[in-house]
């Protein structure tokens, strides 16, 4: 697999690009330049490495889940991003981007959030660096991820409810983009996934690829060689890209698990890569759930972090190249998986991550006796309200 994507124009094959209002073009150039300088700076790397180690808690463990493995008949390792500070992989990216913001001398930070994990991770690094933080969040998500809203406020962030459209993640991105067109001179937008205009898909992947790099080393030490398969959930696709990218030059089978929602009917799921078609949306050309006129259709998932009608352009590229297999896990299976993992391992996964676990449980027969890795992208404390509403104790 070609690892040199994106090209200089931000394309992964025919996906990606910079589809933004003209006003944002130069601020994206500025960001590209800052990232190049950052990549070449030893000081910056040292600062980020130290923060990842001492502040965030990297490396995160690769844990062999013995009882769960016995239960499903597959040998399962969990990459424990749930143990990262703030409880999800999102902090890998926000720590990197806050250093970029300092490089560019931006005083104000904006972000979008769905599940609230990226919002919390952004509010956290802003508290750490003493920068102003504004987080856009859809009203529907504010309700279903209330704990994270309180955490963001406690961290000093301003949370702005978004009441337009479906009032979920995509509308929060629209609101953040509208803010940024006005404020780009003094504001950095910390985008939370491998989505949006170039250079975000590349930057976020580069900050998240530490997940896959650590995993390869840890697995080699534990088992020797490479795993038989790797699984990660896909919303925008950042935890999956971070895990998959270092594996993309090997021939290890990779599975990206999208949210199957209530059914395969339009409006009931977020199966962008298996049900969508290429479109231009929120900065990039990528797969999109849309109608014949190009209107973006409503989507649904029990997990706010996967409730998004598009996906990062590199995933579209991997899909067309058949490098990653994209599949789905529905609401019910994800909730059941969340419960199972909690009971068998004492690990409460985020509902997002539960989709990757749930797919594996449902298809355990296909992987019987094999040794696989699941990226456990986050912890489920934020989802207690939803989980307790669905699971009988």
């Amino acid at each position: 697999m070609n690892k040199t994507v994106p090209d200089s124009r931000g394309y992964f094959g025919e996906y990606g690009g910079k589809f933004v209002p003209e006003t944002l073009v130069n601020v994206l150039h500025e960001l590209e330049d800052a990232f190049e300088r950052f990549q070449k700076s030893d000081d910056a790397h040292e600062e980020l490495s130290a923060l990842l180690k001492n502040y965030a808690g990297r490396p995160t463990p690769l844990y062999f889940a013995k009882r769960f493995s016995e239960k499903i008949g597959v040998r399962v390792y969990l990459k424990r991003e749930d143990l990262l500070h703030t409880g999800a992989h999102k902090l890998n990216n926000t720590l990197g981007q806050i250093l970029l913001a300092k490089f560019m001398n931006k005083k104000r930070i904006i972000a979008e959030t769905g599940a609230g994990q990226h919002g919390v991770a952004t509010a956290t690094v802003c508290a750490l660096m003493g920068l102003e933080c504004v987080v856009y969040m859809g009203e529907v998500d504010i309700e279903r991820q209330a704990t994270n809203v309180k955490r963001m406020k406690l961290l000093g962030a301003t949370v702005i409810p978004v009441v337009s459209g479906s009032r979920t993640l995509k509308d929060a991105v629209n609101a953040a983009l509208r803010d940024w067109v006005k404020s780009c001179q003094n504001t950095h937008y910390i985008l939370g996934s491998v989505t949006g205009p170039h250079p975000f898909p590349r930057i976020v992947r580069e900050f998240q690829k530490v997940i896959g790099e650590e995993t390869i080393g840890q697995f080699k030490e534990a088992e020797g060689g490479l795993p038989d398969a790797v699984f990660a959930c896909v919303g925008g696709g950042s935890n999956a890209a971070g895990m998959f990218y270092p594996f993309s030059s090997t021939d290890v089978p990779l599975y990206g698990v999208e949210a199957g929602g209530r059914s395969h009917k339009p409006g009931d799921h977020c199966e962008t890569l298996t049900q969508g078609s290429p479109g231009i949306f929120q900065g990039a050309r990528s797969y999109l759930i849309q109608d014949e006129f190009g209107q973006v259709l409503p989507v649904h998932s029990v997990s706010a972090g996967l409730d998004y009608p598009s996906v990062g352009p590199e995933h579209s590229y991997w899909k067309d190249a058949n490098r990653v297999t994209y599949v789905s896990c529905n609401d019910e299976e994800a909730l059941a998986a969340c419960h199972t993992l909690t009971r068998y391992e004492g690990i409460l996964p985020a509902l997002e991550s539960s989709h990757a676990v749930g797919y594996l449980i449902e298809h355990a027969a296909d992987f019987a006796g094999k040794t696989v890795i699941v990226n456990l992208s986050g912890r489920g404390d934020k989802d207690l309200g939803i989980i307790l509403g669905e699971v009988k104790l």
Partner: protein, 247 residues
């Protein structure tokens, strides 16, 4: 030289009848009409246009139902004036650029303005559009460099859309000095009119735009008025044209 001014309306908002009447009324004063094709995720627009587009979509409007109204407007309007589409990229991408452009030419659309395709990304659609004889309108903004401005005006067809400020539609008008210089520079190099849009909601805004550029585009205010009633819209246009009769 007299000014070259445009009015923006959301296609078939608040309904096809009022849209057609408003377009014809507007074209008595304005030189061109921009028809906004409602899109589910309009990132370049402020609350007024977002809400109008949402209403139109909720009413089931599509590019095809809007083109029916365009045909009616065409029949009655001054044939020397132009109608443009203001459409988001995905509206053209979904059917494919060829089919989309053919639809435009079939209905005598003069060209397109695409707020989420910047100059650097416009090659593919521009090639198809210009091949079909359509104008493709590019933007200059307060963020544009001199080099970028010169590149845009060199290749411009129809007119150049100068965005007055950093922001989205429906904000208050404000020009900083650097922006004024950029727009004047664009004008000095351009063969086509340089027209200012974003933030112009009354005669005084229009006058300040025309002091710098070749004309102005007004969108949010007419959409807001028309949402209230046709009479409100109509008297707004009458007032504007009497206040701007010397322009």
């Amino acid at each position: 030289m007299s000014s070259y001014n445009g009015i923006y309306l959301v296609g078939n908002y608040p309904d096809s009848r009022r849209f057609i009447d408003a377009a014809l009324k507007g074209l008595e004063f304005f030189d061109f009409l921009e028809v906004g094709i409602p899109f589910s995720d309009p990132v370049a627009d402020g609350p007024v246009i977002v809400e109008a587009a949402f209403q139109a979509l909720t009413n089931g409007e599509t590019i095809d139902s809007i083109l029916q109204s365009v045909d009616e407007i065409r029949k009655k309007m001054d044939p020397g004036k132009k109608i443009y589409f203001m459409n988001y990229a995905n509206t053209a991408h979904a059917p494919g650029y060829e089919k989309f452009c053919k639809k435009c030419t079939d209905h005598s659309i003069a060209g397109m303005i695409v707020p989420d395709i910047p100059f650097s990304e416009s090659g593919d659609l521009k090639r198809v559009a210009q091949g079909a004889g359509l104008e493709y309108i590019d933007f200059i903004t307060p963020e544009s460099t001199t080099e970028q401005i010169e590149e845009v005006v060199t290749f411009a067809t129809g007119f150049v859309y100068a965005v007055s400020m950093r922001g989205i539609t429906g904000q208050d008008l404000s020009f900083d000095d650097a922006t004024i210089q950029k727009i004047k520079h664009a004008r000095s190099k351009s063969r086509v009119p340089v027209v200012i849009g974003f933030g112009i909601r009354d005669a005084s805004g229009a006058k300040s735009a025309c002091a710098i550029a070749d004309g102005f585009i007004m969108g949010t205010e007419p959409v807001l008025r028309l949402g209230k009633s046709f009479n409100e819209f109509s008297s707004f246009i009458d007032t504007l044209s009497s206040e701007l009769k010397d322009l």
